[in-house]
Each structure stands twice: as C-alpha cells, then as structure tokens.
C-alpha cells in the first residue's frame, strides 16, 4: 500500500470523529469508503460482470475504444489536477487514474487485449487492482479540469465517473452517499438529509416571520401550488444550513411577482447519483420530473447548487423526453433575467466590502453559468475581484464529486483537495466569498476554518437579500410595518 499525504495523526483525528469507527476499522484502505465488508475472492468476477452489464446497456464502450487507441501518456493533465498538484503523488495524475480502468477494459473487453493476456497469462483483474481503483477514483474531486487540458481529448472525468459506477455495483461506494440516496429514493422523508415535512414547514414559517421582521414585507414560501411557472427545488440541506440563501430567493420571487412553488412531497434536488451511479442518477431525475408533472409546472428551477443543477439540466432531457422535456433553469438565470428585464431592482453599492466569486465546477466548466452571477454581483457590490483562473477554468473547492459529504476525510479535503483554492482565496483578500453551491459552501467554510483564512463564505442570494429595492421592483411592494 502506498503512503498518502495525510499523516497518521490527521487520519486518527479524522476517524475519532466518525460515527461508526468499528466498521471503518475493518476495512483496509487508507481513505475508507466501503459500504460493507466484502468477499475478497469474488470481487474481480463481480466487477467484470457489472462492467459487462454496463457496457451492454450504456454508451460508454465507444468512448473507451477511442480512449485506448488515442492515449499518448503525455502527462499534460498533471498540471491541471488540483489533487496531484497538492500531493505530488504520481498515482494521482488523471491519466494514471484513467489507465487503471482502461487497462481492465483492454485486457477483458477487447479481442487483442484478451488474447495477449491469455498468451502471456498476465494483466487479469485482481483484488489489489480493484482496491487501487476504489482508492484512486475517490481521491478525485470530479472537477473535470484535466479533460480540458488533454490534447488527445481523453475525458478522464468520464472514466472516473464510469469507474465509480462499476464499483458501486459491487458495493464499493461512500457510505454517506449511499445512505443519503437510499433515504431520498426509498425513505419516508424522500430527501437526503431526512428532514420530515413538519420540520420543513416549521422552518419555512420561521423564516417567513424572520423576513417579515427584517423587511416589513410578507414574503412567503408557497407550498404545493399547482400550475405555477416554476417548481423550485434546492439542495435540501439549504433548509437547515443555508436559510439565508432561501430567504434571498423567496425575496427575489416576491419582488418580481414570480409564480413558483416548493413541493411538499419531494423537496430535494440533490442527486448523488451523478457522483457514484448512473442508475441512481436516473431514478432521482425521474422522481424530480414526476413531481413537476404532478404539480403541472412548465419549468424546473434548481437552487444554488452546482451538481443538482448540472444533473437536472443535462439528465432531465436524457431520461424525460429529449428536447421535449421541460426546461431546467438555475436560480441565478432567473434572477439575472429579472434584473435585465427590469422586474428586479437592486440597490447599487449595498455591499462595499471586497467580494469574490467561486465558480462551482458543475455549472461553470461547460460554460453554462459563468457571466450570469457576475452581472448580478456587479449590480450591487462595489468592490468585486476575480480569482485566477476563473470561469470555465476555475479551480475546484476541493470537495467536489461527492467527497464533501464524507466528514471522515475532512483533513484530506482541506489539506489536499482544497489547497489550491485556499491559495486563490487568500490572494484576493476578499471579505465575502460568494459560492452559489451547497456543496462548495460546506467545503469552503471548512477550508477557510482549517486554513485560517479571514473570509466569510456566503451564497449569492444571501447578499441579494440585503440589496433588493422592493419599491422599485416589479411588484412595487412597500413595508406594511416598521422594520423590527
């Protein structure tokens, strides 16, 4: 077993805080992810069966064929990988990570490879290789910067995505993700944080009272209204941890006279399937879509969450009818549209402290949401500075790809995965770090704490909430009572 960058001390500290150390202790990986104990001898066979089944029913095969022919091992991807840059361990070079799976494909699923392997009696899949894959694929934060830097055009992120999918089929996936997804798909609360409906209603009522007190305006969270324009689903953790983001969003809707609703049956946009299993990805997307059908809303609107937005935007069309599927928007697109058509007025220079913006990989990498938030920020912040690189080439917060949900590896995330980001944040000297993504926010808060950076991590709508000019906006609201 190779040595990792995490020191034994850090690891001990990390595991001391886990809920079920006895289960984790049984497993052998340095960074422990297994959902359950496994029969060691049987794993290669099950891995290959799962691989074969996935190749049979999906579209991965043609891409793998292309990748095994074209890979030149130039190592250019190494310069873009924040994990490799932090660890300096060659096992973390994206191309090496991809080769782990490509070599299995070449050996067991191509004629030449299997002939060669049988003649020489080498290269077959072993337990150690599976273990190395499990280790390696979950070191990646799925930020997809390596893909942009590969001259041959090998999509290392796609290969890691597939590798995790196959591993999950034989029971190797982070416990945190599987438990959450199980609750979301099969549990009584139907959301990843297991928030029961009464608790949700309580929270929303409480927030409504708060907003009334702060703004003097009756801002509400409409529940289960049929036939409205937008079905709004945030990452469910926002209801507990990012109340101010939700207040900002509700305030924007109120000020612009938007027609929207939150479903009471399904109020979670989180889709961990994107991180570990295409099958779960599909189930969650279909569940979300069914809810928009039930409430008869023509649009699906996702809150400040990178992976939820990406999975809905790109996989609602895949699983729910191609170009005829309902459009999916991110909340920032809505807010910008309202700002541009004049329905939303923001008070200029509301925030005078220095502000910087973190691009969540999942919405920025493909160039979908890059300029929208910046236009909004410039409308009410007087000192906005950029990080370099930014936009489509941004650096990951270090908690991407589902790793942020795994509390056990916090030292890894803040010392290794997020190191490059920490340097970037420090260089801006910003007071507020805007990160419109539940995943990034959690990671970045832990990052600024562990790396001792003096900076407050907020959502975009947290700040917008302070800047709305209710009177000047479309709905023309004015306070019905004095501010409390």
């Amino acid at each position: 077993m190779r040595t990792r960058i995490i020191t034994a001390e850090q690891r001990e500290k990390a595991f001391a805080s886990t809920k079920k150390p006895q289960v984790i202790e049984k497993q052998r990986l340095d960074v422990r992810y297994h959902v359950e104990d496994y029969e060691v001898e049987d794993r290669p066979r099950r891995f290959l069966e799962a691989f074969a089944a996935i190749l049979k029913h999906t579209n991965y095969r043609f891409a793998l064929e292309h990748f095994i022919r074209i890979s030149t091992k130039c190592s250019r991807c190494a310069v873009q990988c924040p994990v490799y840059q932090a660890t300096g361990d060659a096992h973390d070079i994206p191309c090496y990570r991809s080769e782990l799976l490509l070599s299995v494909y070449r050996r067991h699923f191509t004629i030449a490879g299997s002939l060669r392997g049988r003649l020489l009696g080498t290269g077959h899949l072993t337990d150690e290789k599976i273990e190395e894959m499990a280790d390696s694929f979950w070191n990646c934060t799925a930020c997809r910067r390596c893909t942009m830097e590969c001259p041959s055009g090998i999509d290392h992120a796609l290969i890691t995505h597939l590798g995790r999918f196959i591993l999950s089929e034989i029971g190797i996936a982070p416990r945190a993700l599987v438990v959450s997804t199980r609750e979301q798909l099969e549990g009584a609360t139907a959301n990843t944080s297991a928030i029961p409906l009464p608790a949700l209603k309580d929270t929303l009522e409480f927030l409504e009272e708060d907003m009334k007190e702060e703004t003097g305006i009756d801002i509400d969270f409409p529940l289960d209204v049929e036939g409205v324009e937008y079905l709004f689903t945030p990452a469910v953790s926002d209801f507990l941890m990012e109340a101010e983001t939700l207040m900002g969003i509700a305030a924007v809707f109120k000020a612009t006279g938007g027609s929207w609703t939150i479903s009471t049956k399904y109020y979670d946009a989180i889709n961990y399937g994107l991180f570990y299993s295409d099958r779960m990805l599909e189930r969650i997307i279909r569940k979300l879509y069914a809810e928009s059908e039930r409430l008869n809303t023509p649009n699906i609107l996702i809150g400040e969450c990178g992976h939820a937005s990406r999975s809905a935007k790109y996989y609602v069309p895949v699983h729910c009818g191609g170009e005829n599927a309902k459009p999916v928007l991110n909340i920032m697109e809505y807010t910008l549209k309202m700002l541009e058509n004049g329905k939303l007025k923001l008070k200029p220079d509301t925030i005078t402290d220095r502000v910087t913006y973190h691009d969540p990989c999942n919405i920025a990498r493909q160039g979908w949401i890059v300029e929208q938030p910046r236009k909004i920020i410039r409308a009410f912040c007087s000192d906005f500075v950029e990080m370099t690189p930014r936009g489509t080439e941004n650096i990951c917060c270090g908690g991407g790809g589902g790793t942020v949900s795994i509390d056990e590896i916090r030292p890894y995330r803040t010392a290794v995965g997020g190191k490059a980001k920490a340097d970037q944040i420090r260089a801006t000297g910003a007071k507020y770090l805007i990160a419109p993504c539940a995943n990034c926010k959690k990671q970045l808060r832990e990052l600024v704490e562990d790396q001792k950076i003096d900076c407050e991590v907020v959502g975009l709508h947290d700040l917008i909430y302070k800047a709305i000019d209710y009177k000047g906006s479309y709905a023309g609201l004015s306070a019905t009572q004095e501010k409390g």
Binding site: N59, R69, R279
Partner: protein, 234 residues
C-alpha cells in the same frame, strides 16, 4: 544490396503504405460507427456542436494553448509535430518518388527548410524523450512504446538527413538509405495499431466526449435485470 533496396522502395513500400491506410480507415470507421450508434441510443440528442468544434480546432492548432500551461514542453511538442508532418510529405525527393511511381506530385519544401525542419524534429524528439525520462510524473505514466516511439521516429530523419547532406562511400549510402526506408515502413505498419493512431483520431475526440455524457434513456431497469438486482434496495 541493390535488389534489397529496390524491394524496399517498391513492393514493400506499397504493402506497408497500404497496411497503414487500411488500418487508419478501419479505426476511423470503427470510431465513427460507434459514435453514430451512441448518438442513436442517446436519450438527449442536443449536442454542443459549437463547443466541440471550437475545442477541436483549438487542439489541432494549439496556438492559444501554448503558453497557458507548461510552455516549454508545449512549444517543443508543437514544433516537433510541425517537422514530423511536413517534411515526409513535402520533401522534394519524396515527391519525385511519387511522381515517378504514381504520376502524382505536389508543392515541395525548399531544400534549406527541409534541412532545418529535419534537424529541429530530431532535436525536439530527443528533448521530448529526455523530458519523459526526467519528469517524474511522465516517467511514471510511460509504457515501453512511449520510449520506443521517439527513437523510432528519429531514425528515418537522421538517416535521411545524412543521405541528403553527407558525402560518403556509395555502399554506406545504400545501407543508410535502406535503414531510412525500412524504419519508415516499420512506422507505417505500426501507426494504426499504436498510440500514433491519434494522427487520425484526434479530430473526433471532442465530439466523442461531448456525446459520451449523453447517456441512453432509462437503462436502470435493463442493468438491474442483467445483474439480477431487480427490486433490490438502493
């Protein structure tokens, strides 16, 4: 020696060139065929064509990419490719052979430029090989073929340069020429079956990765059935 040289120039050249062309056609057809099948199965057929085309052009003519990351390596790599592609195709002596053998001809490279590009190609191939040997990350990734290729590619360039420029005994000239031709023909044969296949596959990459993220619709059931997982809990 002369019969050997004639054989290498004639039948062997035709055979190896044919192997290369057919081999490259085969992998391109397989690639495109696979992509079309994947497109048919994709649940969502809206591709970001513009982005894919832009990325493809950016990597085929990587002018903008040079100085963003690893500038020295990038520049060396690009200059290496320039000579590698241009010299064999546009060298006067090669074009004359095509003209006498097949009756076709095209623009040729001035002699001085051919020499300069030959030397730069050899130099940059050597530099890239050394880079691979001394860069920890690259060395870790490298397979046998990654070291063999730069050497093999240098061989026809070195022998070709000597034949064109150095005065020598005729028998030695013939020997060098034989090495020149045979190494070139070995390269022809190997191209479609090794990583050098990227010379024809690269333009397809960006389209393939854009398409690969477009999964087929509703495969959950099918995979569950194949793996006997129907009704199993998450």
């Amino acid at each position: 020696m002369e019969t050997l040289l004639e054989f290498a120039k004639g039948p062997l050249f035709r055979l190896t060139f044919l192997v290369m062309v057919l081999g490259l056609i085969r992998i391109v057809v397989l690639d495109v065929w696979g992509a079309i099948a994947a497109y048919r199965r994709a649940g969502d057929k809206q591709l970001a064509w513009g982005t894919a085309i832009r990325n493809t052009l950016q990597w085929l003519f990587p002018v903008r990419r040079v100085f963003t990351q690893r500038p020295v390596y990038s520049l060396f790599s690009i200059l290496f490719h320039v000579g590698l592609i241009i010299v064999p195709i546009f060298l006067l002596a090669h074009v004359q052979l095509w003209e006498s053998g097949a009756g076709v001809s095209w623009w040729t490279l001035p002699h001085v430029w051919a020499d300069v590009l030959t030397l730069t190609t050899i130099g940059f191939a050597l530099a890239l090989l050394l880079g691979r040997l001394f860069d920890g990350g690259a060395r870790f990734l490298s397979r046998k073929q990654d070291y063999i290729w730069p050497i093999l590619l240098m061989l026809p360039f070195i022998t070709g340069y000597l034949c064109a420029n150095a005065g020598m005994r005729p028998s030695f000239y013939q020997l060098l020429m034989l090495v020149h031709i045979l190494s070139g023909e070995l390269i022809f044969v190997l191209i479609p079956f090794t990583k050098i296949a990227h010379c024809v596959l690269m333009p397809f990459s960006q389209f393939i990765i854009a398409l690969a993220w477009k999964f087929p619709a509703r495969v959950d059931d099918k995979i569950c059935t194949t793996l006997n997982k129907k009704g199993a809990p998450v």
